[in-house]
């Protein structure tokens, strides 16, 4: 069974804007799926249609095989949504926000409190449970949103830019948490502008632009389409300009102890290391110069225009 199945989904807003031009999308159960696209591409419209915040113009949406038009209540029961904006009453206490959300799904008060306590603790919000929402920091509010979306223990979790404006430490802890619940069986659909986030977390990916899906594949396949890849190497030896020139690997000196290396598809990183070794240079550490996915993303969007 598919966690989400979208067929020929269209949305035209009042005023004539075609936000979605008939997209098809399937997300397998227990997948960690990235839905990427530039601002205004139609990601949030698609998510808001799935979560009933936007009415579709036409098309079909099924959550875990249940058509949202035919059995709206049943379809929504297994869905958790973290919206782009903070959408809880900021004058309510954190514990009430989360427990009430469970109540809206029909959970008993006892179960709602148990689930609420579990997720507030897991997201490091337990100490803040008696604070009102408006007293929380931006990062804490984002975590309340996640706790709220999970409190009914959904089988499909949709996150619309959950880490926007969140510091790196919190972002990484949220990544670990999401990976954990995905491993426990929750299907996750993620939209994000941090492509590193999608690359690290997601197994499958769709890229949407101007209301159309321009790519829908596995993360491995997509990254395999990279023609060139650049790395930054930290080296143990100080070099001066002109000292190390090798056109084959497009080696550039960034500063006296840092090199940039660009490899074309088929070239081996081992050959670069051998070459440097021959010149008595040891590599201390290495990283990608820019996000690999970022390059692909930009290429794909340019191609689609």
């Amino acid at each position: 069974m598919k966690a989400l199945s979208i067929k020929n989904l269209k949305k035209t807003y009042k005023g004539g804007l075609d936000a979605l031009k008939g997209i098809d999308l399937d997300v397998e159960e227990v997948d960690f799926f990235a839905l990427l696209g530039p601002n205004g591409a139609g990601k949030s419209t698609a998510i808001n249609i799935i979560s009933s915040l936007v009415t579709k113009s036409s098309g079909k949406v099924e959550i875990l095989g249940i058509d949202i038009d035919q059995n709206h209540s049943l379809a929504k029961k297994e869905l958790g949504v973290v919206g782009q904006e903070v959408n809880f009453n900021q004058f309510e206490k954190v514990s009430n926000i989360v427990i009430n959300q469970a109540g809206y799904f029909g959970l008993s008060r006892k179960e709602a409190k148990e689930n609420g306590e579990y997720f507030l603790k897991r997201l490091d919000l337990w100490d803040k449970r008696n604070e009102v929402g408006r007293n929380l920091s931006g990062g804490m509010k984002r975590r309340v949103m996640v706790a709220k979306a999970l409190v009914n223990k959904p089988k499909l979790l949709i996150l619309d830019e959950p880490t926007a404006g969140v510091d790196i430490e919190l972002r990484r802890s949220l990544w670990d948490f999401l990976q954990e619940i995905n491993e426990q069986g929750t299907s996750i659909i993620l939209t994000t502008h941090y492509l590193e986030e999608a690359e690290r977390l997601c197994r499958n990916i769709a890229i949407i632009d101007e209301g159309e899906i321009v790519e829908n594949t596995t993360m491995v396949n997509l990254l395999g389409k990279l023609e060139v890849e650049s790395f930054v190497l930290d080296i143990d030896k100080s070099l001066s300009k002109g000292e190390l020139i090798e056109d084959k690997y497009q080696i550039k000196l960034l500063n006296d102890k840092q090199l940039s290396v660009t490899l074309e598809k088929g070239q081996k990183l081992n050959d670069v290391f051998s070459y440097l070794s021959k010149n008595q240079i040891s590599v201390l550490s290495m990283r990608n110069e820019t996000g690999r996915l970022e390059e692909l993303f930009i290429n794909l969007l340019e191609e689609s225009k």
Partner: protein
């Protein structure tokens, strides 16, 4: 959702609403208590003592049912209009829209919140009126029925106001320019028979007149209704008809998603 789950959702909305209005207890309870006390002191004791009897009762006794119902109406209406508009404005309505709750439960939950506030304020105002007059309840069933139906009706009207409101101004226009005049001209402070013929006829098309008099009839055992040729049953029937119509319209609007879904 099973019926039990729907019931839990309904009580969650009601609980949330009650927590909200208890959190602002000064606005919810203290403010109407002060206003009603002033009404009793000024209109009841100071001016009322010079008016004498009205409808066969001393003036404070005659006025008390009207003041109680006025508080119920303004609080039922005010609770729903401010809470639902705020939910729209802050987008916290999305918390409900993403859940499996059917729209009729959302509507009923909000109305239940308005009724809860209206009735609790009604109890507070009744308690205050005991300091100024003896409270008579001739027909407890009719009294309760009239106050509950009135509270439901005005909670629904508050919902409609909030649904169409786009600014904070829009949620104060109806209470200030429509509701308050209708309440004051509905016979809270006087018997309709004191009015000149023209204004008496105008009052006959004021629905508030029937509600206030139905409630007064429940408490005092008499009201303007019989002398105007209407029965209390007719007033109750009309309230039920209005509730049915307005509930259907509100539900239809909620289902249409107008103003809350793009």
């Amino acid at each position: 959702m099973s019926n039990l789950e729907k019931l839990r959702s309904l009580f969650t909305i009601l609980r949330k609403e009650m927590v909200r209005f208890f959190r602002i207890y000064i606005q919810t309870f203290i403010s109407p208590a002060i206003v009603i006390t002033l009404y009793f002191i000024i209109f009841g004791n100071l001016i009322g003592s010079r008016i004498g009897q009205m409808g066969g009762f001393n003036y404070v006794q005659f006025m008390a049912p009207g003041l109680i119902l006025m508080s119920v109406i303004t609080n039922s209406y005010g609770n729903v209009v401010s809470s639902f508009f705020n939910a729209k404005f802050t987008k916290s309505i999305e918390e409900l829209l993403v859940t499996p709750i059917p729209n009729h439960i959302i509507l009923t939950g909000w109305v239940a919140g308005g009724v809860a506030r209206g009735l609790l304020v009604g109890v507070v105002v009744t308690a205050i009126s005991l300091f100024f007059t003896e409270i008579i309840i001739e027909n407890i069933a009719l009294t309760v029925l009239a106050v509950v139906l009135t509270s439901i009706l005005f909670s629904l009207l508050g919902f409609l106001n909030a649904f169409f409101a786009e600014t904070f101004d829009h949620i104060s226009i109806v209470p200030n320019f429509v509701l308050t005049p209708l309440i004051y001209l509905g016979g809270v402070f006087y018997s309709i028979h004191l009015l000149p013929e023209f204004w008496k006829n105008i009052s006959l098309v004021n629905p508030l007149m029937y509600m206030i008099n139905a409630f007064r009839h429940g408490m005092l055992g008499t009201s303007d209704l019989e002398t105007l040729g209407f029965s209390v049953n007719f007033a109750i029937f009309m309230m039920i008809v209005f509730i049915t119509i307005i509930y259907s319209v509100a539900l239809w609007l909620l289902n249409s998603g107008r103003g809350i879904r793009s």
